[in-house]
């Protein structure tokens, strides 16, 4: 594999990693506050659908993005209602929301567009256009002839949709918010010891809802990027397990922002490789493409098994807060 091909795979990795990373950070906010969220998948899916639908009708990717965030927020609100207000089982709520998204998107897509549960192909204005950084080359023939540094700059660093850069900026921002602000201190506290937060006179419910809302906004962006950046429209079940991979990345990262970046890039790379190459011939054995498909899941199981260091979730995670009696 030559240098340019490697760059192209890495370039694709970055794009594949973007929805994973944004969703992963969504999960990070939620789970750091003590609310498990296996509904990332569903939130991304409704956001992908509604953003594509609105972008297709209005021709504006920005309205699409807003609509996607809105849809994701509605799902967040249901999750918050179930797991915070009514102290229900957070896992079951997440599962329900994933199914709700899988069903609703197809039923509504068919009703609106009658194209077998998909939205129309998005035209230019309905998608996130690549941002060409200053001095970067755009045509592939120019890039092929440029020096390695210029190739790196033009192929890998330049030319992505806005959400890619937003996702990368979100990593330090999340770290700063979590560890350097009052909000972050309280958020981490409510995921570890909600009773300490409650007796300090801060609303546990308010903090947890804030975390769930942030998760909703982020999932909205992730889903919108999927349908209006990575691809040009919504197709049935287009998240294809990305929400679960993001969750896996979160565990892999042990609920820390910088590690989340690393984990998502790794999983993005695996997806990029699976897309670009079919069966991979390693000389001795030929690795079927299904192995590449399954690899993120297998890796996650290996990590969960604690063979690569133990992942300890926030102490109060998954437990509804009930005042001690």
């Amino acid at each position: 594999m030559d240098f340019l091909t490697t760059l192209q795979v890495l370039d694709s990795s970055l794009r594949q990693a973007t929805p994973l990373l944004i969703a992963c950070l969504a999960g990070l906010f939620s789970e750091r506050a003590g609310i498990f969220d296996i509904g990332l998948e569903g939130k991304m899916l409704v956001a992908a659908f509604l953003s594509a639908a609105v972008a297709a009708v209005t021709g504006s990717v920005w309205l699409g993005l807003l609509a996607g965030i809105g849809a994701s927020l509605v799902f967040s609100a249901i999750h918050g209602l179930a797991s915070i207000t009514f102290r229900g089982n957070q896992l079951i709520s997440g599962v329900a929301l994933n199914f709700l998204a899988a069903g609703l998107t197809v039923v509504i897509a068919q009703s609106w567009f009658a194209q077998g549960g998909r939205t129309p192909q998005l035209m230019a204005g309905g998608r996130f256009e690549p941002i060409i950084l200053p001095g970067a080359l755009t045509s592939s023939s120019d890039i092929a002839q440029a020096g390695p540094l210029m190739q790196l700059y033009s192929e890998l660093i330049s030319g992505h949709g806005l959400p890619v850069y937003v996702a990368l900026a979100l990593v330090p921002l999340t770290w700063w918010a979590l560890f350097r602000t009052r909000f972050g201190l309280r958020l981490r506290a409510v995921g570890e010891a909600p009773e300490a937060v409650d007796t300090a006179g801060i609303s546990v419910v308010g903090l947890r809802f804030a975390a769930v809302v942030i998760a909703g906004v982020l999932c909205g962006i992730a889903g919108a990027y999927l349908a209006t950046g990575l691809q040009a429209g919504f197709t049935k079940d287009m998240t294809a397990g990305r929400g679960y991979i993001a969750l896996a990345a979160l565990i892999f990262a042990k609920w820390r922002p910088w590690y989340a970046l690393g984990a998502c890039l790794l999983f993005g790379f695996l997806q990029a490789v699976a897309i670009r190459f079919q069966n991979i011939d390693l000389g001795v054995v030929e690795v079927p493409v299904q192995v590449m498909d399954a690899l993120p899941y297998i890796l996650t199981v290996v990590i969960l098994a604690g063979f690569v260091g133990r992942a300890i979730p926030p102490r109060a995670g998954g437990e509804p807060y009930v005042k001690e009696r």
Partner: protein, 530 residues
Amino acid sequence: MTPTPAIELKGISKAFGPVQANKDISIAVMPGTIHGIIGENGAGKSTLMSILYGFYKADKGEIFINGKKTEIPDSQAAIAAGIGMVFQHFKLVQNFTVLENVVLGAEDSGLLRPSLARARRELEALAREYELSVDPDALIQDIGVGMQQRVEILKALYRGADILILDEPTGVLTPAEADHLFRILEGLKREGKTIVLITHKLREIMEITDTVSVMRRGEMTATVATADTDPSQLAELMVGRKVLLQVEKTPAQPRETILEVENLNVTDDKGVHRVKDVSFSIRAGEILGIAGVAGNGQSELLEVLGGYERGTGHVRIRGQEIDLTGAKSDGQSRRRRGISHVPEDRQREGLIMNFHAWENVAFGYHHDPAYQKNALFMNNAAIREDTEAKMRRFDVRPPNPQLTAKSFSGGNQQKIVLAREIERNPDLLLVGQPTRGVDIGAIEFIHQQIVALRDAGKAILLVSVELDEIMGLADRIAVMFDGRIMGERLPSETNERELGLLMAGITDTTTPHGHREVEANLAERHGEVR
């Protein structure tokens, strides 16, 4: 003219579902005093104070702070009114530093750095003023309970509390640590702070309070000046009738050795060495009491003898070695060897709260042939019948096997566990905290049952953090500190003071003992935990 009370509660009532926790309670606490609230478990003391702190909302009633009517809908309002509370179970974030815990909820601005800097300066000042020094950068999970309690007090003072409520603050402390706490409280009182002390220990009330209020079954039965009362009068007010503070028993008549423990060591799954080279024996017809502050290895000792914690060393029952590796043994095989176990925490371990009483009576003995219909199925009718008989013999109220465990009161729950374990006629009974959270009436009954089992020639290992209970029941007393047995004493030849020192890890009881040694020892203990 009398001064305005710092706290005045008028007609407070609070119900949890069908349970009336507080009934029309009125109380006035004078500023600059230490006011005790005493009552049995479940009398409603904690509920009342949690209402004052805004943790619960009263159904009825008014609160006056310094003469001013104050609404306290949440803890934020209580803090604003100058009230601080140290809960029985600390409300700290384990993986935060002391400083972060103090600042949490009392930050100055959106950014943390300036808040933390100010808190650091203030903590230093408070430490000087009240003998409350702590390492601000230590993680809570690394410091001992005594230190954690200081952090809780500092949290309240940092928020400018003038009124400090402490709920059962000495439950987790050694007598020496408790003494230190009392000196801190006296210091605070001198500075003009008002202190409310919730406890069920008469000794503490007599020692430190100026005024005492007694609660019984959700009602306030009396408020008196401490100087004008005595322990037996308070006990009577608590229970509503005359109580015997002493357990009636004849001297023990020990026979052959039942249990021998030799060099027992236990390391838990976190790698902490919990039980260190413990050796002792118990003979038929005697009660060995293990005294000590909670968390000094007693729980692990019970668990390893009960078959569900691993250990190394030797344990023999009637001379026969029992397996400690967990490979060939569990709670079931221990029961077959004649060991019964009343665990320390009946709601967590001893009972399954959503199971019927009859299912709980079979618990741990569900392989008993008498409970089987055939090779495949259990005989539920037989279990129900057996349960009803046991409930009657142990005076469980109501004796209905179909009720779930959670619908019984604490005392009746404990009687179900005791009935299950004692009626198996074991050679050895392990019993942990037999009367924790149990009303006084049931305490007497439970103590009688334990003594009766002893008199029937059984060996009994009693673990309790209540020194009074150990002194009253045990025929021999061993004191555990930091996983070791510090010494064995006969109840007739020792006193609470000596045992208290042993509980703090001081074996040399002949020299005059100052607090300095105790603290040096405690510091070492905290260091070791870290």
